[in-house]
Assembly symmetry: C2
Homo-oligomer: 432 residues x 2
């Protein structure tokens, strides 16, 4: 067989269920799919392939899956740091969204975010925002894989001045994108239980069910939200959504910081998924989600960065590092949340959380060739005792050298092949 692409001469961390690690690994790719993966015998020649990447004894890992983004918000990176939540939202973010968010800026902000994601090893993201059609076009053009949802909120929003039409806009988005390209999956992004009425929440979930797509919703992010829902409905946010029938295996609950034992049991029983976003929760002082308890209860939990307005970056390596450290600290136990567990959350776990487990998240024969190659020839990566621990605690986004999505080389020697990055350093949307 002749291949489209062969990657060799690196240590493969497959991230499969058995967590196989392959020394002197080789991956053969054809028609976007991993056809073969294994160890290369020294005396065997490489099979014929149109393209070959020598990993130079680096690490070869599955592309990272970022389960929570708002891509166009790179426009607001660092716009308003170190402020009280309501000042941040009302004085900066909402006015900026009203004045600066339009199809063109959404397109540009999304492409900028994709450049950042790609250069730090993310190959798939799960996104929700407004003007999501323009996000989708931007993402598709960059070569990234994504699950995308047009925002539903019961307030006037960018591109949706009349909230009465929020469901119909989201419906149009799904109809347009659901079967257009394999790399782009449509979903429903319902903002939250405190910004959507009961009626909107139910309608949005019915629509997601109708199309069999992912239903994303911010849930229990802050104490204020928790207390508001409790006082209005006499239920925690999770219990309230459960009562409305919104929790099932196609539901992704984002944040879940303010969840108690009963909430966690409900999430586990309904097979809903969670996306945690630790750096955003820290920076906005929202709290610490009980992630070790999610995992103990078998809840599939992915890792998200949240938007650049609250993080302020989209770097999954930094997110993984902080995720491990914060839960060791919170649980007073350095054994909690070990490197392998976090690696799984950011790859196969994330893929499962957003409904793509059969396609991506691990390096296995038959799966999509979404692959990241890490350059290990850096002073901060020497020596190496445990490559998995290195990925969580040492590797930085900037150590990513090559990124392959759908078998196509998207980042080559740290150059994004699909984006003209230089224009962002002078473009009018990006005040300096």
């Amino acid at each position: 067989m002749e291949y489209d692409l062969i990657i060799h001469n690196g240590l493969i961390i497959t991230g499969n269920e058995e967590f196989d690690i392959i020394e002197n690994g080789i991956i053969c790719i054809k028609n976007t799919i991993i056809q073969k993966i294994g160890q290369k015998k020294d005396n065997i020649k490489l099979p014929y392939s149109a393209q070959v990447i020598d990993a130079n004894q680096g690490l070869i890992i599955p592309g990272l899956v970022n389960t929570h983004t708002h891509l166009p918000m790179s426009l607001f990176r660092g716009l308003a740091d170190d402020l009280p939540l309501m000042t941040w939202l009302n004085k900066y973010i909402f006015p900026a969204e009203a004045s600066q968010i339009n199809p063109e800026s959404v397109n540009q902000g999304s492409i900028l975010s994709c450049a950042e994601l790609l250069l730090s090893g993310t190959t798939t993201c799960c996104d929700g925002y407004f003007y999501e059609n323009y996000v989708a076009e931007a993402v598709y053009s960059t070569g990234l894989r994504a699950v995308l949802g047009q925002g539903i909120i019961d307030f006037p929003a960018p591109g949706v001045p009349d909230p009465e039409k929020n469901i119909s806009y989201a419906l149009a988005f799904i109809e347009k994108w659901q079967k257009r390209y394999n790399r782009i999956k449509a979903s429903v992004f319902c903002h939250s239980p405190y910004t959507c009425s009961k009626n909107t929440l139910i309608k949005a979930k019915e629509m997601a069910n109708q199309f069999g797509v992912l239903f994303q919703i911010h849930t229990a992010e802050t104490k204020t939200e928790h207390d508001t829902i409790l006082s209005e409905h006499n239920l925690s946010p999770v219990k309230y959504l459960h009562k409305l029938g919104l929790l099932d295996s196609n539901t992704l609950l984002v944040h879940c910081v303010w969840t108690d034992k009963e909430d966690i049991q409900i999430i586990a029983d309904t097979h809903a998924k969670i996306s945690t976003a630790v750096e955003s929760n820290m920076k906005l002082a929202s709290g610490i989600a009980p992630v070790p308890d999610f995992l103990k209860n078998g809840i599939v939990t992915g890792v998200g960065t949240d938007s650049c307005a609250s993080n302020n970056d989209l770097d999954m390596f930094s997110e993984m590092d902080t995720l491990g450290k914060i839960h060791k600290l919170a649980g007073s136990d350095p054994v909690l949340m070990d490197a392998k567990l976090i690696f799984k959350m950011a790859t196969l776990g994330g893929a499962e959380a957003i409904g793509l487990k059969d396609e991506i998240g691990s390096l296995e024969s038959g799966k999509k060739a979404d692959i990241v190659i890490i350059d290990m020839n850096k002073p901060h990566l020497v020596p190496v005792y445990d490559p998995v621990s290195h990925i969580i605690y040492n590797v930085k986004g900037s150590d990513v050298n090559n990124v392959i999505i759908d078998g196509k080389i998207i980042v080559k020697n740290r150059q994004v092949q699909t984006i003209d990055i230089k224009k962002f350093y002078t473009a009018p949307y990006f005040s300096r």
Copy 2:
């Protein structure tokens, strides 16, 4: 006047007391010293200089000051992650120190650490370890600035098999290094109140006083340490050290996680300094130091990474980012520990904490030319609203393009000029 080096075409964040920020800045350097700093008028030609760096509209900041390292421990980076503290120490770190620490490995580990420090924008570190003579030689050879102390501990240690001689070894170190080079300052590194007897602690501090050098000591890092000292001496670690007369303006207390209001008042009253090391405290699940309270009480507090065995890197940008986020979270207040405050801690505050405030820590005429230039042409650094906030929440160590120490270009376009980095990728000390 003719200069040795001119840096221009960047935004200067001086980090001086007034926190001046200079657009289109220029810095003129001669004889290791900043002679002139200010704004460059467009129609004025650059003065004559032997070397010129065009900062390419990047950020020009004071070199970062890392107030707590154990440089040779890069040898143990990732050796033993996700383990209980005592397993980590007794099963991995102590045996590794016993078998692997020798003059040659200390030299190599220190140079590797210096490469990492330099490439992530640190120009000065405050270090303590054993075989510190070899650390000093290594550090000096790389061009880094440092305050160094030979370790004092009442157990057999690498190079000091007989603990009875720990003070005399430390004395010999001071005598050898105290006036040898301007860039290397000798100090006393006394391990901790739980590993040194009362007698050793007092003798070590007397020696520091005799030479007028910094006295570094790990203090109140873990609850176990706190409870041990409390049960043995009926005092908290800080109160115990205070009772022994160890706290004054030349004392640097490292960690201070387990400190209460009274401890903090004592530290403030005695003008002792603190080095916080948040990522290490998180990873080892030690706790959160009450840094906002230190600052409220006027205690000079610097930022340290701790060693690669517990962090696992020496990256001050990551440390600053986490420092801000953890205290917002711990205090449930996103306004706490703003970017400017953290920037000051990592520069002028750190310099003051280790006794170098008059020489370094800010970009001012008359100070040493220790300067870092950040490349802002990266997707994750676009757009820019507030450059100081960008430095804390967005800039990564890998965005550092040039590093100048004592007016000498040590890192040029991300290449360390003083270290043959490639040898670390094959050297025998660095198992892969």
